[in-house]
């Protein structure tokens, strides 16, 4: 009996340790980004890093301003959001409210399929199909532009937006719809006046998480945006995002160099951005209070 | 009924859920080898009272308890190990609750957790328990089929057998026939009368007639209060409290 007690005590200790593992990993990620990233600021000021206009990491001395990269990320993210939010919301409404049973299942499977295709594959396909198309349609010297990245990322954000928003629509009680229909409203009036307002916090969360997905996307964006580290002036010019910079340059840095630390510092910025986005999305979904 | 052993003594039992009282200072005893029926309308505290006896209420974090419950003279909170207590005090739930595993595995679940692993011993236990619950003849050829394939009445007898497999001394029935047809109900009631010889039974029921049919004594609960407890015959013919009479006649009338 005492043997069994001991065994159960050990198991329950493991369960508790695993329970708080998520907290530990978030902290570890934060600590290790800081550990390497903060070293940069012995050489470069925070202001100079965040708002410096020039990213010349291998010049002598290196210039490590990430303003072009932040703007690159913002630019691409903005474009992707403009495309994906209306389309994603429309698609979620169609799947969640309008499509009949069988079609709904088919469409949902399609969205899941999109989510299952790896970023690298979409990047590759974008590189060989979308990029030449953009070049031709807009008559540009190169198709490796912000607009290509935005289109690509819009697609990659779609599964997140559609599935979370569809959950939000599903959570609206059936009675709300029936009440409205019973008063003579059309299905669309019901959706617009009753269902969408009731699901608004879920829709906000869906959009936020979609944006979070876009900001953090790396491989596809690296392959098709051209990666020019200059302050972007147009959707039709090459840009370089923060994520792409880390992925493309980490392999060439010397461990312990300013450049190496700077890439970790970019990681801190990315981590902070997605942390805030996810926190806001979760508060939109669950509220700030502890559920009691 | 003189000189009967008191199997369970409930003293000043008060139970609250999230601060809301479910049972107020109940005092009663249960004698060895009797069937005590507990009747009363919904939310009268019957089930709460039952789930206190095997400490199943402990699973609800909102549950608070005052007073004393003694089984075999020992306080269930201070002197009983809770796992030993639950083996000693079996429970049959309102709806049949077979686990979605085979009949054999359902029966062996309790003994296995208790450390019985010999195949031969388990087979003996399974056979013996099924016989005691009058289910053996119906299932002996398909012990390894899923318990979910049994009818509702068979499932409920399986649950009784599953309890018996642990050789308990007290068995708690929480409205065991509420989902069953009259024939299945009759079979369960027969089984209970038979089990009384070896066990102490407590039967919570919504069905006053059932209490009248199988109980030796009956307790009537109303809004968390134990109104009256007496011989079945007395409760149904000359109740001391007007509320008891009202409830029973309402049911009959």
């Amino acid at each position: 009996m005492s043997m069994r007690r001991y065994y159960e005590f050990v198991i329950e200790a493991l369960i508790f340790a695993s329970g708080i593992a998520s907290i530990i990993f978030v902290l570890l990620i934060f600590i290790f980004l800081l550990k390497e990233g903060l070293m940069l600021f012995e050489h470069v000021g925070v202001f100079e890093f965040l708002f410096g206009k020039y990213w010349y990491p291998i010049s002598e001395p290196p210039r490590l301003g990430i303003l072009p990269l932040i703007l690159g990320s913002l630019w691409v993210t903005f474009g992707a959001t403009v495309i994906s939010v209306p389309l994603g919301i429309a698609c979620a409404i169609f799947i969640g409210e309008i499509a009949p049973g069988w079609l709904k299942e088919v469409l949902k499977a399609g969205v899941e399929l999109l989510a299952a295709i790896p970023s690298i594959v979409l990047g590759f396909i974008g590189l060989v199909t979308l990029v030449p198309m953009v070049k031709k349609v807009f008559g540009l010297p190169t198709g490796l532009t912000a607009i290509s990245g935005s289109i690509m990322l819009a697609f990659m954000a779609m599964p997140t937006i559609v599935s979370i928003m569809e959950d939000a629509l599903n959570a609206v009680p059936r009675g709300y719809r029936e009440g409205s229909i019973a008063m003579g409203a059309t299905q669309w009036q019901t959706i617009r006046r009753i269902v969408l307002p009731s699901a608004s916090s879920g829709i906000i969360a869906a959009v936020m998480l979609g944006i979070g997905r876009v900001v953090g996307e790396t491989m596809a964006v690296m392959m098709i945006t051209g990666n020019a580290a200059v302050i972007p002036m147009s959707f039709f010019a090459p840009v370089r995002t923060m994520t792409a910079t880390i992925a493309a340059e980490m392999g060439e840095t010397v461990q312990g160099s300013e450049h190496y630390f700077a890439l970790f510092a970019i990681g801190i910025v990315l981590f902070a951005i997605t942390f805030v986005i996810n926190l806001l999305a979760d508060f939109a979904l669950h509220g700030k209070q502890i559920r009691t | 009924m003189v000189d009967v052993a008191e199997k369970i003594q409930v003293k000043n039992l008060t139970v609250t859920y999230a601060g809301i009282p479910a049972l107020r200072s109940a005092n009663f005893s249960v004698y060895e080898n009797e069937i005590l029926g507990i009747i009363g309308p919904a939310n009268s505290g019957k089930t709460t009272c039952l789930r206190t006896l095997n400490r199943l209420n402990d699973l609800d974090p909102r549950y608070r308890f005052e007073g004393e419950v003694l089984i075999d003279g020992k306080d269930i909170y201070r002197r009983w190990n809770v796992f030993e207590l639950r083996k000693k005090v079996g429970m049959v739930f309102a709806l049949p609750t077979p686990l979605p595993i085979s009949i054999f595995e359902n029966l062996a679940y309790g003994p296995r957790r208790d450390g019985v692993h010999s195949r031969k011993r388990l087979q003996e236990i399974v056979e013996q328990s099924l016989k005691s619950a009058f289910l053996w003849d119906e299932v002996k050829d398909r012990l390894h089929e899923s318990a979910m394939k049994l009818s509702g009445g068979q499932q409920q007898r399986l649950c009784i057998a599953r309890t018996l497999a642990l050789e308990p001394e007290v068995i708690l029935f929480d409205e065991p026939c509420s989902g069953l047809d009259p024939i299945s109900t009759a079979k369960i009631e027969d089984a209970m009368r038979e089990l009384k010889r070896r066990y102490t039974l407590i039967l919570v029921t919504n069905n006053t007639k059932q209490a009248a049919r199988v109980s030796d004594r009956v307790a009537f609960f109303l809004m968390g209060e134990l109104v009256e407890i007496d011989q079945t015959q007395k409760i149904f013919t000359v109740p001391k409290d007007g509320r008891t009479e009202g409830y029973i006649s309402g049911r009959y009338g």
Binding site: S22, F25, A116, I125, M250, N278 | -
Partner: protein
Amino acid sequence: MKLGNAQVEQKIVFFFLFLSTLIILIPVILVLIVIISRGSSVLNWAFLTAMPRMGMRSGGIFPTIVGTFYLVAGTLVFALPIGIFSAIYLSEYSKRNLLTRIIELAIVNLAGVPSVVYGLFGLGLFVVFLKFGASILAGSLTLAVMVLPVIITASREALQSVPRSFREVSYSLGATKWQTIRYAVLPHALPGILTGTILSVSRAAGETAPILFTVAAFYLPRLPQSIFDQAMALPYHLYVLSTQVPNVRLELQYGTALVLVGLIVIANLVAVIIRSYFRAKKQW
């Protein structure tokens, strides 16, 4: 009968909603068709089982498939036990208090960390600090942390869908808390846990950014011999072929993409089959 304005409006709106759905889903189908039609021309047994040759411009992709399998296995070894135990904590032990809320927020945030930041984290912790070097071990650990939130969420849902009565029955038969979880809850949650795990790990198999600095090798002449070796991996290989090596035949790239997507789709199908099989069998 004349349609009212409201009905006309509804028709128009629904048409545009449908159009939006098509705009999203038609490219998905086109992408798959392109990959399949152009990739299948190089897809044969030799392509799957031969080493790359001539600077990866011909030959097969065998080592990348092997590497991806090693990474998936390693990810499972680390993420599955922690994920299931963590879900057990949340489903069976945690009370609704501040700690639980913080754990939930941590899970949400882990799920939102960009994949390239996982790469940095793996580099900082596993490769450099713990001195595992760029290795299968470091890569698997990095991917394991990344898939953890998905496994936890799916497992927790599966555990919570097991009826409360199973637990009550088990306790009423004298079982302890762990026995109840182990024998009355976990077996019935397993199909759901399995489905969620397959889905998340198959996604991990397609990730490139987290393995860039933690395990992935540009080219290795032989297969990895231990968990401390680097490995080639399918997604990174596709990256290399399409951007790092000049003059690679496009068909070879499509073929690699086809194998990667094919493996993931097969894993997803397996998960769907498991799910529907147990749903049909489920009797509670």
